[in-house]
């Protein structure tokens, strides 16, 4: 094991896991703060049957994502990124783009020791910026936002598609052979889901597109890599 790897595995990761777990469980507890305030200070408590019914509705709509997302993002964001991103959210639209650009600018490759550390740094910075902007927004924002012209608010709808296209291209340029395969799998699954082929599954099965594209591309990349390694 190289010295770098040893520092990463014997010092960095244990620290991240210890604090990641502590902050994760604390986040679960503190999530309930507002509900506790409503119950204790204002004496407002919804009937438990209602909460249960609403929870079941949510679980059937998004519950599969509680498991699918951490698993399919793990190969990209790693251990530290998982602790960070699944508390702070906004993974595909903010955390991963910040991590990716940080790696690119620092000149480090995804998956390496340096790559993992820089990705975490980038994601952590994005958390700070995001919270700062939301905090300004929530205190001053209402009056600013209502004054923004309608067409500017509308234009913001196009920012995410542009972001997804740009990030895809950034990584496509790193693996030119793999990119069309990934996009091919994703496009055919998208069309299949839109055509209703998977309607027998609960909810709108868009998670199938992510799962299929992520693990399908990993499988093909792995076998391509092994074939190349054998040829060498």
């Amino acid at each position: 094991m190289s010295d770098k790897r040893r520092v990463y595995e014997k010092d960095y990761l244990p620290y991240i896991v210890r604090y990641g777990k502590a902050t994760g469980w604390l986040a679960v507890a503190l999530s309930f703060g507002p509900a506790v305030v409503l119950a204790v200070i204002y004496g407002v408590l919804p009937p438990s049957a209602a909460v249960f019914a609403a929870f079941i509705a949510m679980a059937s709509a998004v519950g599969i994502n509680w498991f699918v997302e951490p698993i399919s993002y793990f190969p990209i964001i790693g251990v530290a990124g998982t602790y960070l991103a699944f508390i702070s959210g906004n993974i595909s639209n903010l955390r991963i783009p910040a991590a990716a650009i940080a790696q690119k600018v620092a000149g480090v490759e995804p998956g390496t020791t340096e790559g993992n550390i820089v990705a975490t740094l980038g994601m952590a910075v994005s958390v700070v910026i995001n919270i700062a902007i939301l905090t300004i927004g929530v205190f001053a924002g209402n009056s600013i936002l209502v004054r923004l012209p309608e067409h500017i608010l509308e234009a913001f709808d196009y920012l995410l598609p542009a972001l997804f296209g740009a990030i895809f291209v950034q990584f496509a340029l790193m693996r030119l052979k793999l990119a069309p395969i990934a996009l091919g799998i994703a496009l055919s699954l998208t069309l299949a889901v839109n055509a209703g082929w998977f309607n027998f599954l609960p909810g709108r099965p868009t998670y199938l597109i992510t799962l299929g594209a992520v693990f399908g591309t990993i499988a093909i990349a792995t076998s391509m890599h092994k074939r190349e390694a054998r040829r060498d």
Partner: protein, 232 residues
Amino acid sequence: MEYIQIANSTPMWIAVGVAIALVMFQALIFARKSYNTGKTIGMTDTQMKSAMKSAMITSVGPSLVILTGLLSLLVTVGGPMAWMRLSFIGSVMFELMAVGFGAEAVGVNLGAGDAMTQVAFASAVWTMILGSIGWIVFSTLTADKMASVQDRFLKGDTSLLKIIPVAAMLGSFGSLVSGHLVALNKNTVAAISGGLIMAIVVQLAEKKELKWLKEWGLAIALFGGMIVAAIL
């Protein structure tokens, strides 16, 4: 008392403030540890500062999009809950759905124009919380274990470590972008132009060794793609 007075009361601000402070705290200690470890394994200050700067620049655009979502949440659940829910895991769509389900479970149909009541608000708060802790619980439980699953899959072939994250990126962003590509509307225009601008910017920055362009690249591509789609 009107529910909105409770929703915007000082105890609510305090409860959500504590939760948001935790997210901020986690980001700060992860950033500090990553920075220090980066130095230990031989990365330069310039490399890491530049990575942080680019993550900062890239975070602004997506954060503004999240901020516009805050507005729609603000009117129904008040400032504190909107602020907290968008700083934690979740998204505007998810939170609005949770509010809908939560209120409906106590017989208040917001979509049909029913007025929010205290109990409906409390039920919405519980639903937002319970609907989102699934992500935190699952990722906190499994983050370190997923690392050993990945190690077992690699079977000591560390060269695959560089390929899997890129393959996973291509798969997940391929699936995010394909929904917009098959939509054949302005989102399609935004995704394609965002990708094209990124391709040009990346090539240019690399050929001419322009560090500022690397740092601003993603921000240029996402705002550029957005503007093209809005104007066309």
